[in-house]
Every structure is written in structure tokens, then in C-alpha cells.
């Protein structure tokens, strides 16, 4: 080759060949631009995102490491941390998660202290914060308003304020843990809004145990708002050596790692130290308390003893008094008895006296009457004596007469009886003798008859005596009779006389006794008179005595009553006092016991204070920083796959183009060869051609895409991140740029070499001959005779042509497949994100509001809320469940934490009406039984588990850390779900896992769409005591809608890229096909093919390939989309997994549309083909 290149005909020819085949040249430029651009752009995007983040993080001094402890952090620890080599700044801070009323919302918020003075001294350009305070980390950027100047003033996150609605106040309601001794101020005035690098993900700041589990707002308050005694909750650190490195890159992580390891060595010691501090502090307080207690106890006991003693004294006195009173009373009683006896005596004396008087009076009367009687009797006696005197005298005479007569008669009878005494012994009276004589005569007669000697004489004497007797008797008898008559007369008179005499005697005697009696009576009366007079006198003195005794008694009684009353009062007092004392004593003792127990408990607590868990966290544990880093890595992942595809297409385009070029210039190559140019020189022409084309393409592509993609993609993400964009022009990263440039160049150059190597091997002679036309080939389809015969010839040609040029076919199919695939990916990603909302809220979740009650809410309180909701008429069916924010890990319990909402419904059937549990593929129902444990799909995938596998569930402590071993749960199913993660447990399963009954404290329901009504109900609900949280799913829907809008931007990029790909490939294909077939086309024209027929003849082939390519693209797109969706997916959500059929249709139609555009553009070129070409000789 001649040294003067400018005039080198070879070079000139080269330049001309470029200008003559500009289309071909531009095709290579374009495809390489697309390939390299995408590759470089995507690669720069991930890096760029990390750099943007780094600028922001470094500019705001975001912490590199953070120390947290479950027992807080003391000044000592902070000092020790600061001494750790590699740490160049430390900033301790206090924060606490609370439920707060912000405007009309009741949300979970984190209250964090910050150095207001440092903030005031700082200045910001919106991305960086400049401050002289080296220890001021996590610097806040003031967006609106001013910095707080009082403890009750705060600033909140601008991005969240925008989202939640601005409010002038933040009222802390309650904390995740007790706020006593932590937060001194509860009601804050919002004086400004800020951006915090600590919360770079504005859609969800962090997880919390409160509310719905997502932190909704961050509240930054002056340090004075916290109790100065409370320990720091975290300590932020800067690792000086890491500042120069880009965040989330390996060098950065290595630097941080070094210090982190240093710190980790110290963690045990920090923990021990902290435990000792806390213990010592607590012990000191407790000891003080115990001392106070002991003192108080002694005092109390002493007081009690005093009181007891007083009571005892009182009792003794009372008892003494009582005895006195009792004695007096007894005395008084005996006095009274005496008095009463006296009274009785007086009464009886008086009675006796009066009786005596009466008796005396009657005695007097008697005496008087007796005197009268005596007088009367004397008179009567005198009268009677006078009367009876004559009769008595007569009688006495008659009696004397009679006594004389009787004495005569008795002499006579005694003479007779003496006469007969021998004969009738024993007979004493004449009658007895008379009566006994007969019997004696008979006996003497009998005895005389018996001859008894003397008897006759006796008989005769007896008979004579008898006869004498008989003569005497009548005389006697007469005497007798006289006598008797006298006697009778006497006797008759005698009684009278006797009586009279007796009467008189009696009278005399009586009179005498009466007179005697009277005299005695008179004497007696006189004596009794004397006695009576004495008695009266005595009575009078006794009465006087008694009267004085009575008055004495009365006064004694009055005194006694007084004494008794006083005494009674004394007793009452005493008993009251005693009861009070007993009560007080009991109380005091109980209180003392309680206090002592409390102290003991406190002591036990102190003894039980475990070593705190102390962690060093780096930025990967920061929700925003890590998810941004993850997103940037996702882009890297996509960057490593997609551009590869573009490079394949670029290589194929280069291959076909260069093959065509070499073929076109076959005779030229032959000529050069014949002229003696070396193979290397000739191939250099083509290599240079390809190199220049791809070089230009690469530069254009890299330059353009390095601005576009690193801007568009973070822009799409930017809606949820607060990380500011870098200003244009974005720096071109040399690594991706160079690698992309070389890759693009390598592809085309390799393709070019492949293309020209076969031609260059041929001899010049062969090259100068026209290339033998490619032998027509039968294709497989022709073997199907009947079908083939039905096809028209133009179609036959088309079909045969399609398979004739394999490279072109491959290029087009791959290119178009890529185009369609990109479109499917774009539409599919859109579908995937819209599915999140559509399926989640259209098919799976049937409620749009969740009302969380306090953990200790009773069924009654839950029912109250349900009743209220029913009353409003705006709410649908209420389903009650236990909802807990838990953490799950894999079965080993050592893997990553995944925050999950555990839901255990009270009634599974009702719950299944508002939550559809089904498999994503096939929509088979996932059975939910009381013993079921069902995990949502994304989580199951991340944990790598399925039904039958075990996971571990942890109940995190107040600051969200896992501190126990958790509970194992064996899954029974996996269910489709897109937003957040859920673990559904049946009540039995819940019981089995936690050994505890679920507390049904959450209500899921639907609510009227009217926002005013919603606000009103929400307000009312939040005002109810037991309602903790009211979460509307709208917020979630809005978040994902925003995401969807941001994806549209990416869609545009994808569609434009797809179109570019299609244009380049199709243009190239059509161009080659037409230029290669100019002769054939001209012939057809000559044959009388109409323009349409000619177009069809050429384009049909292209269309067929495009259709084939597009069909392949649909399949390819399916996989692309799946890859992108799975790669780009954020952890908090599962994107829809299926591409909707309209997306396939759109992608297909768009591809066809691009094709038609290209073909329409090519039509004039076809029309321009001159029929004369057909007459020309074959080259």
C-alpha cells in the first residue's frame, strides 16, 4: 500500500463504498448503537444509582454503622465506640416508635432526637448539608419551615407530609413501649419539613410493631423532648475510610466491614458493660427505695405500737371507771332495795296500825255492845229467875213425895225379893221371880213327881209362896203404878224444870262470863289503844327516814347515769379506736408487704436483667438504603442479560450485511486480488468498514444511552426514593463504556471476518466469475404434496427464499423476536404491576379497611366497634381476626428476617369470603382449616419452602428485634398474594404454635368509597378508646399506582428500543433482499407483475419472517418478562406473574406496525427498480 493514504485509490474506493452503501453502513451503526448503548447505559444505571446515593449519603453524612442495644446505650459505650479505630465520628441519638395523631390520621411514627443547634448552623444545597459540626450525622435537609427552637417543636419528613396530608401538630398517643421516663413531650408543633437521608425510601420508611407494621412518618425532635435520664437508643458512626468509596459497592463494604469487625469484637464487652450499668443504676435506685421503705416501715410500725399502747391505756381506765360505776350501781341498787323494803314495811306497819285502829274501833264497839248485852242478860236472868221460882218449888215438893213413895215401894219389893230369894235365886224383881217361879215349880213338881224327898214340901211351900206372891204382886203393882205415874209426872216436868234451871244457871254463868269477858275486853282494848298509839308514832319516824333515803337514792341514780353515759362514750370511743387501729394496722401491714414484694420483684428483675443484644448495623439494614442498593443491583442483573441479546442481533446484522457486501464486491475482490493486493489488505477494507461503522455506533449509542438510561430508570424508581438525581450531563463511566465499545466492536469484527473469510479464500479467477447461483432447494413443506400443490408460486418462492438465506433468516427472526420480546416485557411488566393492584384488590382481598384494636380489647369492645360500623351503614360485613406483626425465617431460624402479618381469623368461613386463598396457577382453592398454616407465595419462594415444609415464626420485641428462638410452623399451603407477606393460621394451629389463644382484635371490612364519609368514620373510630389503627388499603393502591406511572417511562424506552431494533433489522433485511434480487424483481416486472404483486413477492417473505420472529418473540418475551419481573421485583411485593393476552396482542401488532412502516419505506425503492436491470448480464 502506498504511504500517501489520501491519494490511495484503495482508500478512496473504500470511502466511496461507504457513501454508496450508506444504508448498510447506517444499519451497522444503528444496531451497534442500540446494543452498546443499552449495555453501557444499563451498566451505568446501577453504578449511577449507587453514585447518586453516595453523593446524597456522603453529602448528608449518612451513618456507615449504627450501634443498637436492647437496653439502650450509655455515654460510656458511646465513648468506647468513638475510640474504636476507623470510627471518625459518633452521634448518639434517642428514638422511639409511637402511634401519633397527625392531622386526621393516626399513624405509626418514629420520634427521633437530633442536634437542633448543629442543624441550625448547617446549610444545604438540597443534596448536601454543610456543617462545621463533624459529629452531626444523618444530617437533615430543611425543605419547608424552620428548625425547632423549643422542645415541643418538631420537623417531619416532607415526602410523607405530602402523602399524609400536612398537619401543624403531632400528638403522640402511645408508644411501642412505655413512654414514661423516655419522652417528656407528647404534643409537638410541626414547624418545618425535612428530607432525611436515613429514610430514603419514601413509600415505606421502616417496619415497626405498631399499626399496620409500616412506619408512616418520622418526627425529628430536639434532644430536650426526651428524658435526659433515658439512655440513648442508638449510636451512629462514620467510618472515615469508607467515605471515599461508593456506597453499596464492594470497596465500601470492605472498609465498613473492617470497622464492623473491630466493633463486633467489642460487642460482648459492650453488652456486659451495659448490663452492669443498668443493673448498678437500677440497684442503686432500688437500694434507695429499700432504705426509704425500711425507714417508712419502722415509722409505721412504731406509730402502730403507740396507737396500740394508747388504746390499752384507754381500756384500763375504762375498765376502772366501769368498776366504779358498777359498784355505785350495786350500792344504789341495795339502797333502793332497802328503801323499797322500808316503804313496804311502812306500808305494812301502817296497814297493821290501821287494822289495829279498825280492830280497836270494833273492839270498842264490841265492848259497848257487850256491856249492853251484859246489862240485858242481867235483866233477862232476873226475869227468868222470877218466872221459874214457883214451878221449881212445886216440883221440888212432888219430888220429895215421890222419893218417899219410891222408898216405900222399894222396901216392899226388897222384902218380897228377900222372901223368894231362896226359891228363885237370881231374880231381883217380882216379875223375874214370877217369870222364874213356874220353871221352878215345874222343876219342883218334876222333882216332887220324881219323888225327890223334900220336893213336895218345897213344891207346896213354892205353891203357897206363889199364892202369897200372887196376892202381894197386885198391891205392889198398884203401888208401883202410883209411883210410876208420879215418876212420869215428875219426869215430864223434870226436863222443863231442869231446863229452866239449866237455863237459869247457864244464864247466870253466861252473864258472869260475859261480864268477865267484858272486863277483859275493856282491858284489852285499853292495851291495844296504847299499842296503837306507839305504832303510829314509830311509823311517823320511819316515814321521815325513808323520805330522806329516797332523795338520797334519786341523787345517787342521777350521778350514776351521768357516769354511765360518760363511760359508754368512753367505750364507744375505745371500740372505734380499736377497730380503726385494726384496720389501719391491717392496711399498713398489707401495704408494707406489697411494697416489700415490689421491692423483691424489682430486685428479681434486676437480678434477671439479661445481657442486652447489641448489634452493629450497617447501611444494608437501613430500609431505604438497602432497597435502593437492591434496586441498583437489579438493574445490574438486567444489564447483564438484555444487552447480550442486542449484541447477538448486532453480530447477526453485521454478519449478513458484510456477507452481502462481500458478495456484492466479489468481482472487485477478485480484481484486487488479481492486481496483487494481499488478502489481509483486502479484508482490512471490510474490517475497517465494520470497525468504523460499529465504532461510530458505539460512540453514539454509549453517549446517548449513558444519559438516557441512568436518568430514566432512577426517575422511574425516583418516585419512591428521595435520593436526588445527579445533574446532566451524567458522567460516562469508563468501565461500562469501554467494555461496551469493545464488545460492540468485537461482535461486528468477528462477524465481518466470518463473512469475508470464505470469499477471500477463493482464487482471483473464481472470484471474477459470477458466483454460481444458489441451487434452489426443496423445503420440507413440499413433501406434503397436497398442501404444497395448493400454494401459489409466489408463496412457494417466498417459502423457499425464507429458508434459503439462513443468516438473514436468523438475524431477522432473532431481531424481530427481540423487538417483540422487549415489547412483551414492557407490557408484561406493566401488567405485572397493575396485577398487583388488580388481582390483590380485585380478586384476593375483599376488604378495604383494617381496624386494629388494642391488644387487650375484649370481645365486647370489638363488638362495640362492629356495632358502630353497622350503625354507620357505610361498612360491609365485619370479619374479626387476630392480626400480629411477626417475623419469619427459614426452618433453621438463622436466615434473613421477613416481616409478615400473621392473621388468625375467628371464623374461617367468613374470612375466606373476604380473602381468597388460592394457588396462582390454576386458581385451585387452598383449603383453610382450623389447623392450617398458609404462607403467601412470595415469602414461600424467598424462604424456599412449600406445603409440608417448616418455617420459624418469631414475635419481635418492641423495637422489632428477634430475641427468642421462635416457634416452628409447618405449612399446609401456599397462597397467591402480591402485596406484603401474610401467614394465615387457623385458631387450632395458632394455639399449637404459640400455646395461647388468639386475641381477636382486628376487624376487616369494606367501606363506602365516599372519602368524606370515610374520613368521618375513621375519625370517629380513632376517637374510640380501644381502636389503635385504621388502615385503608387505598394508600397501598396509591403506592402501586405511582409505581405503575413510573413504569410507563420505562415502557417508552422499551418501545423505542424495540422499534429501533425492528427498524434496523428489517431495513437491513429488506435492503439486502431487494438489492440481491434486483434482477429477479425486474424480471417479474417485465413479466407483468403489478406493483402490488411485486411488493407482495418481496415483502411477503419479510412479513412471514417477521411473523415467525414475532411469534418467537412472544415466547421469548414470556421468559424475558418473567426474568425482569423476578429480578426487578421489590421485596415488599410480588409482581403479577402472568402477561395478559392483550399485551401479547399489542406487542405483536406493534411489531407488525414497525414492519409495515419499514416496508412502506422500502416500497419506493422497489418501485425504482428499473426493468432494464433484467436485461443486464449477470455480474
Amino acid at each position: 500500500m502506498a504511504p500517501r493514504a489520501r491519494h490511495n485509490p484503495f482508500v478512496i474506493e473504500f470511502l466511496r463504498s461507504v457513501s454508496r452503501s450508506l444504508g448498510r453502513f447506517l444499519a451497522i451503526v444503528a444496531i451497534v448503537a442500540i446494543g452498546c448503548g443499552f449495555f453501557a447505559g444499563l451498566r451505568m444505571t446501577g453504578t449511577g444509582m449507587r453514585k447518586s446515593a453516595d453523593i446524597y449519603y456522603d453529602g448528608t453524612e449518612l451513618y456507615d454503622l449504627q450501634l443498637v442495644s436492647t437496653l439502650g446505650i450509655s455515654e460510656n459505650t458511646v465513648e468506647r465506640v468513638a475510640e474504636t479505630p476507623g470510627i471518625t465520628a459518633v452521634m448518639p441519638s434517642r428514638s422511639v416508635d409511637v402511634m401519633a395523631a397527625i392531622g386526621e390520621n393516626q399513624v405509626a411514627a418514629r420520634v427521633t432526637s437530633f442536634d437542633v443547634e448543629a442543624a441550625k448552623r448547617s446549610s444545604s444545597d438540597g443534596v448536601r448539608v454543610f456543617s462545621e459540626d463533624d459529629g452531626y450525622l444523618n444530617r437533615l435537609i430543611l425543605r419547608t419551615g424552620r428548625w425547632p427552637s423549643a422542645p415541643n417543636e418538631c420537623v417531619v419528613l416532607e415526602e410523607r407530609a405530602e402523602h399524609l396530608g400536612r398537619s401543624d401538630t403531632v400528638d403522640v398517643l402511645y408508644g411501642a413501649t412505655s413512654l414514661d421516663d423516655v419522652l417528656d413531650v407528647r404534643d409537638f408543633d410541626v414547624v418545618g419539613t425535612v428530607s432525611s437521608t436515613y429514610y430514603s425510601l419514601s413509600s415505606s420508611l421502616a417496619t415497626t410493631t405498631l399499626g399496620s407494621g409500616i412506619l408512616e412518618q418520622a418526627v425529628f425532635v430536639p434532644e430536650d423532648a426526651f428524658d435526659p435520664e433515658s439512655p440513648y437508643t442508638e449510636c451512629f458512626m462514620r467510618v472515615g475510610d469508607a467515605t471515599d468509596e461508593i456506597t453499596a459497592t464492594e470497596p465500601y463494604e470492605a472498609e465498613v466491614q473492617k470497622v464492623e469487625e473491630e466493633l463486633e469484637i467489642e460487642l460482648d464487652s459492650f453488652a456486659n458493660e451495659r448490663r452492669e450499668e443498668v443493673r448498678a443504676e437500677a440497684q442503686e435506685t432500688l437500694d434507695e427505695h429499700r432504705a426509704d421503705f425500711e425507714e417508712e416501715k419502722a415509722e409505721a410500725l412504731a406509730e402502730l405500737d403507740d396507737a396500740e399502747r394508747e388504746l390499752e391505756d384507754g381500756l384500763a381506765e375504762l375498765r376502772r371507771n366501769q368498776a366504779t360505776v358498777d359498784d355505785s350501781e350495786a350500792e344504789l341498787a341495795s339502797g333502793q332495795a332497802d328503801y323499797e323494803a322500808g316503804l313496804a314495811e311502812i306500808a305494812s306497819s301502817r296497814k297493821r296500825l290501821q287494822d289495829g285502829e279498825a280492830a280497836y274501833a270494833s273492839g270498842q264497839a264490841e265492848i259497848a255492845s257487850a256491856e249492853r248485852q251484859v246489862a240485858d242478860a242481867r235483866t233477862q236472868l232476873a226475869d227468868a229467875e222470877a218466872q221459874a221460882a214457883p214451878e221449881i218449888e212445886r216440883f221440888d215438893a212432888a219430888e220429895t213425895a215421890y222419893q218417899d213413895g219410891l222408898a216405900a215401894y222399894d222396901g216392899a219389893v226388897s222384902d218380897l225379893v228377900a222372901q223368894f230369894s231362896a226359891l228363885t235365886p237370881g231374880a231381883s224383881t217380882p216379875e223375874e221371880i214370877q217369870a222364874a217361879l213356874p220353871a221352878v215349880i215345874e222343876q219342883l213338881s218334876a222333882a216332887a213327881a220324881a219323888g225327890v224327898p223334900g220336893a213336895e214340901e218345897q213344891l207346896a211351900a213354892a205353891r203357897q209362896a206363889q199364892a202369897a206372891l200372887d196376892a202381894a204382886i197386885p198391891e205392889l203393882e198398884a203401888q208401883r203404878a202410883q209411883l210410876d205415874a208420879a215418876e212420869a209426872e215428875l219426869d215430864a216436868a223434870r226436863p222443863q224444870v231442869e231446863a229452866a234451871k239449866a237455863r237459869l244457871a247457864e244464864g247466870r254463868r253466861q252473864l258472869e262470863s260475859a261480864e268477865a269477858e267484858l272486863a277483859a275486853g275493856q282491858a284489852e282494848l285499853a292495851a291495844s289503844r296504847r299499842q296503837l298509839d306507839d305504832g303510829w308514832a314509830q311509823l311517823g319516824s320511819a316515814e321521815a327516814e325513808l323520805a330522806s333515803a329516797a332523795s338520797e337514792i334519786a341523787s345517787g341514780r342521777a350521778q350514776l347515769a351521768d357516769a354511765q353515759r360518760q363511760l359508754d362514750e368512753g367505750w364507744d370511743e375505745y371500740y372505734e379506736g380499736k377497730a380503726a387501729y385494726e384496720r389501719e394496722r391491717q392496711d399498713a401491714l398489707e401495704k408494707l408487704d406489697d411494697a416489700e414484694k415490689e421491692l423483691d420483684d424489682a430486685q428479681a428483675e434486676i437480678d434477671d436483667i439479661e445481657r442486652p443484644d447489641v448489634f452493629v448495623l450497617d447501611r444494608t439494614k437501613n430500609y431505604g438504603a438497602q432497597s435502593y442498593a437492591n434496586d441498583s443491583e437489579r438493574i445490574d442483573a438486567i444489564a447483564s442479560v438484555f444487552p447480550l441479546f442486542f449484541f447477538i442481533v448486532a453480530a447477526l446484522v453485521a454478519l449478513t450485511t458484510m456477507t452481502r457486501m462481500v458478495d456484492d464486491e466479489r468481482s472487485l475482490i477478485g480484481t484486487y486480488k488479481a492486481l496483487g493486493y494481499s488478502t489481509a489488505t483486502i479484508s482490512a477494507k471490510y474490517l475497517a468498514y465494520a470497525a468504523i461503522a460499529s465504532g461510530i455506533g458505539a460512540v453514539i449509542g454509549i453517549a446517548f444511552m449513558s444519559q438516557l438510561l441512568p436518568w430514566v430508570i432512577p426517575e422511574a424508581y425516583g418516585i419512591v426514593y428521595t435520593i436526588p438525581h445527579r445533574p446532566f450531563p451524567l458522567p460516562i463511566e469508563p468501565g461500562p463504556a469501554v467494555s461496551s465499545f469493545l464488545l460492540g466492536l468485537g461482535c461486528t469484527l468477528t462477524a465481518t471476518l466470518v463473512a469475508c473469510v470464505s470469499s477471500l479464500r477463493e482464487t482471483p479467477a473464481a472470484l471474477l466469475q459470477p458466483k454460481a447461483p444458489k441451487v434452489g432447494k426443496r423445503i420440507l413443506l413440499e413433501r406434503i404434496g397436497p398442501l404444497w400443490r395448493k400454494i401459489t408460486f409466489s408463496w412457494k418462492v417466498t417459502l423457499r427464499n425464507i429458508f434459503r438465506y439462513k443468516r438473514r433468516f436468523l438475524m431477522t427472526v432473532i431481531g424481530i423476536a427481540g423487538c417483540t420480546g422487549l415489547l412483551v416485557t414492557g407490557f408484561g411488566v406493566r401488567d405485572a404491576i397493575s396485577d398487583i393492584i388488580d388481582i390483590q384488590y380485585g380478586e384476593l382481598v375483599g376488604h378495604d379497611v383494617m381496624i386494629g384494636l388494642a391488644n387487650d380489647a375484649t370481645t365486647g369492645e370489638v363488638a362495640d366497634v362492629v356495632d358502630y360500623l353497622d350503625e354507620t351503614g357505610a361498612a360491609g360485613r365485619c370479619v374479626i381476626a387476630d392480626t400480629e406483626n411477626v417475623v419469619v425465617r427459614d426452618a433453621s431460624g438463622k436466615g434473613d428476617d421477613h416481616a409478615v402479618q400473621l392473621i388468625c381469623p375467628e371464623n374461617i368461613d367468613e374470612f375466606c369470603e373476604i380473602r381468597t386463598l388460592r394457588e396462582r396457577i390454576g386458581h385451585a382453592e387452598v383449603p383453610f382449616e382450623p389447623d392450617s398454616a398458609i404462607l403467601t407465595e412470595k415469602l414461600a419462594t424467598m424462604l424456599g419452602v412449600g406445603p409440608g415444609d417448616a418455617i420459624r415464626v418469631f414475635e419481635p420485641n418492641a423495637v422489632g428485634n428477634v430475641t427468642d428462638l421462635g416457634h416452628e410452623v409447618t405449612l399446609t399451603g401456599v397462597t397467591e398474594n402480591y402485596i406484603q407477606g401474610y401467614l394465615y393460621l387457623g385458631p387450632e394451629a395458632f394455639d399449637e404454635v404459640f400455646g395461647d389463644e388468639p386475641s381477636y382484635d382486628t376487624i376487616y371490612t369494606t367501606m363506602d368509597d365516599d372519602p368524606e364519609k370515610r374520613t368521618e368514620i375513621a375519625k370517629h373510630l380513632q376517637a374510640m378508646d380501644d381502636v389503635d389503627t385504621v388502615v385503608f388499603e387505598d394508600d397501598m393502591i396509591e403506592t402501586y399506582s405511582t409505581m405503575l406511572r413510573s413504569v410507563d417511562l420505562v415502557m417508552i424506552v422499551l418501545i423505542v428500543s424495540a422499534a429501533a431494533l425492528a427498524f434496523v433489522v428489517l431495513y437491513n433485511l429488506a435492503n439486502i433482499n431487494i438489492s440481491e434480487r434486483v434482477r429477479e424483481i425486474a424480471s417479474l416486472k417485465v413479466l407483468g407483475f403489478t406493483r402490488r404483486e411485486v411488493d407482495a413477492y418481496v415483502f411477503r417473505e419479510i412479513l412471514l419472517i417477521v411473523i415467525g420472529g414475532a411469534l418467537v418473540g412472544l415466547v421469548l418475551g414470556y421468559f424475558f418478562e418473567a426474568y425482569v419481573v423476578v429480578t426487578a421485583e421489590v421485596d415488599a411485593a410480588m409482581f403479577g406473574r402472568s402477561v395478559h393476552w392483550p399485551s401479547y396482542v399489542y406487542s405483536f401488532l406493534l411489531t407488525m406496525g414497525f414492519t409495515v412502516l419499514v416496508l412502506l419505506a422500502m416500497r419506493p425503492k422497489l418501485a425504482r427498480i428499473d426493468m432494464v436491470e433484467s436485461l443486464k448480464s449477470v455480474e
Binding site: 434452489g776 432447494k777 418462492v797
Partner: protein, 233 residues
């Protein structure tokens, strides 16, 4: 009235600033059923004549009539239909579609016209019944040209136009092709026009038109044309 009439046909090409009068007042007639040979040296304008007669190019001035149709007045669309229905074209380099078999190449033409001859029949007539299913690349040059003639014939055209039909063939094969064309004319009564620079062909023609510098220098009729196989050159 002749079957084909050229009346003062002119064709002026503008190439940059230069105007070239490729055909400059061409006048001739061709009767129906004649085998006409248009002969002249390179650059004489015979290809232009062929183009205009074949409906591939429009006249700048003058009239061309074929039968009762005024070809020179046709617009592009009418020309297309004219080529389609009235003209059978035989190229020097056959211009067969490589991807179609011999028979298919014939059918390719016949399918687009109204009253085609059966392709197989035509193939038999050109003596290629046995090669019908071969691809052009599998055929010799002569065979390919036969296929091309069959393709032209199958359209049942009013005029068969042949552009140097033997130009790419060897002498012997060329003669056979000429013979085929002559037979076509004689036995089938086709009007055949052959454009060539080879004066030897004039012997077989019914009419010979000598073209020179854009004009028909002379038109001869030949009462007894020779058999093509006897012609030598």
C-alpha cells in the same frame, strides 16, 4: 393495418445535462404471425425499441400500436397489464426464478394472466417434459432458455419478445433455441420479435428490421425464411 405499428417513435434519455436520443423517429410495422428480427449494432437503439415495445419504457414521442391498442398512450398501470397479458418476454440470461422449478417458473407467468396455456403442455412443447421438476440451477443454459420460452409462451401472449435469446448460449444450443422460436411462430402462429446483433438470424425471419442510430434503416420481408437449424454464424 399492421399488427404492430411504430410511428415516429422517439425516446430521449436525460443523463445529467446530456440528452441522448436513443430512438430518433423509428417507423416500422410487423404483421401478425410473423417472425421478426430487429437487428443492429450495439447502441443502435434496438434495446430501447424492445423496451418500448415490451411496455417496459414509455415513448418520448410518437405512437406504438399493437393490434388495436395504443401502447404509447398507456400509463404505467396499463403498461403493466399490457406486459402481463400481451407480451411474452425471453431474456438473454433467462431470468428464471432460481427458487422455482422449471414447471413452476412457467406457472409463475401463467398464473397471472387470463387465458394461459397449460404449463405442462407448454413444457412438453419446448421438449422439457422430463425436466419439469428441476430447479434452474440444475438445468443447462439451453434448457433454461427453453423454460424461459415456455414461460413466455404459457402466457399465450400476442407478442413474444426475445432479447438476444442465444446470447448466453453456445452455438449449437443457440440454434436449437432459434429453431424453437421459429417453430413457435410457424406452428402456433405467434408473432415473435427477436432483438439481436447477430445478422445471421435475419435468414430465418419473415421480416427483418435494421436499426441504426435510432432509426429503422431498412425493413425487409423474407418470403422464404430458412430453417433455423440450417443457419450458420
Amino acid at each position: 393495418m399492421a399488427f404492430i405499428e411504430f410511428r415516429d417513435v422517439r425516446k430521449i434519455y436525460t443523463m445529467g445535462d446530456v440528452e441522448v436520443n436513443a430512438v430518433n423517429g423509428m417507423d416500422f410495422d410487423i404483421e401478425e404471425g410473423e417472425l421478426c428480427v430487429i437487428v443492429g449494432p450495439s447502441g443502435a437503439g434496438k434495446t430501447t425499441v424492445l423496451n418500448m415495445l415490451g411496455g417496459m419504457d414509455q415513448v418520448s414521442a410518437g405512437t406504438i400500436k399493437l393490434g388495436d391498442r395504443m401502447v404509447s398512450a398507456m400509463d404505467e398501470r396499463e403498461l403493466t397489464l399490457y406486459r402481463r397479458h400481451d407480451i411474452g418476454f425471453v431474456f438473454q440470461f433467462y431470468n428464471l426464478v432460481a427458487n422455482l422449478t422449471a414447471l413452476e417458473n412457467v406457472e409463475l407467468a401463467s398464473q397471472i394472466c387470463d387465458d394461459p396455456l397449460p404449463a405442462e403442455e407448454v413444457m412438453e412443447k419446448v421438449g422439457l417434459a422430463h425436466r419439469m421438476d428441476n430447479f434452474p440451477a440444475q438445468l443447462s443454459g439451453g434448457e433454461q432458455q427453453r423454460v424461459a420460452i415456455a414461460r413466455a409462451l404459457a402466457k399465450n401472449p400476442k407478442l413474444m419478445l426475445c432479447d438476444e435469446p442465444t446470447g448466453a448460449l453456445d452455438y449449437k444450443t443457440g440454434k436449437q433455441i432459434l429453431k424453437l422460436l421459429q417453430e413457435t411462430c410457424q406452428t402456433m402462429g405467434r408473432t415473435v420479435a427477436i432483438v439481436t446483433h447477430n445478422l445471421a438470424f435475419t435468414q430465418i425471419a419473415d421480416r427483418v428490421i435494421h436499426v441504426h442510430e435510432g432509426r429503422a434503416k431498412s425493413v425487409e420481408t423474407n418470403g422464404h425464411p430458412a430453417d433455423a437449424l440450417t443457419v450458420e454464424w
